[in-house]
């Protein structure tokens, strides 16, 4: 399942929901949470705004999730990405992969976040003391 939303997400509730959907079949769940850092490239960040391409974003995330489910034997998966204005320490993205086998869960989760970072149409704009700037690829995490 994928979701793009302005509001926050609750990692525990999402993990719990997937666990319940799996009901005894999973064995291993791996989650990745991306957070807004208060420092990026040496500069103090007071706010971050995430722009995206509505429509294409959802398609891109669905494709990434589908690829992960093709390559690995998953019992459940989830991608949630926030958009809009965020503060340091806020959640940005959540990726969960559940599988019978822990290696598969780790690999699928890492694949989904790695692919999202290069293929999903999101753009970060940071507010610094000197003004705003668009984040360059590879500059962040």
């Amino acid at each position: 399942m994928i979701r793009v939303q302005t509001g926050d997400f609750d990692v525990g509730a999402e993990l719990e929901q997937l666990r319940r959907d799996n009901n005894g079949r999973a064995g291993a769940m791996v989650s990745f949470t991306g957070l807004v850092r208060d420092i990026n490239a040496g500069d103090s960040v007071s706010e971050m705004t995430l722009e995206h391409y509505p429509g294409m974003t959802e398609k891109a995330l669905e494709k990434i999730e589908q690829q992960a489910n093709t390559r690995w034997e998953l019992t459940a998966s989830l991608i949630i990405h926030r958009v809009g204005a965020l503060q340091p320490d806020d959640n940005i993205v959540l990726v969960i992969a559940a599988s019978k086998h822990r290696k598969q869960a780790f690999q699928a989760c890492e694949f989904m976040i790695d692919t999202l970072k290069t293929e999903a149409p999101f753009w970060k704009k940071e507010t610094l003391p000197e003004g705003t700037r668009w984040v360059e690829p590879g500059q962040c995490r």
Partner: protein, 83 residues
Amino acid sequence: MVHLRYFASLREQLGTGEEQVELPSNITDISGLTRWLQTREEPWKSALADSRLHVAINQEIVRPDAPVTDGDEVAWFPPVTGG
């Protein structure tokens, strides 16, 4: 008509996020469409000259030689930085 969209830093440079234009009959692919938009006054020429820009047709990333047809949604944007 084609629906043109611009995102992030490119949107800010161009001062617009989207527009509807009549596709000139001699334009058949992304390269041609980009060059045609660059004939507008600055900042169009320099902003669209950035070789790192990606282009999507109907929300799928395409290469510069991809064909454009009437009714398409075409988007230009800088490298993505989500996640």
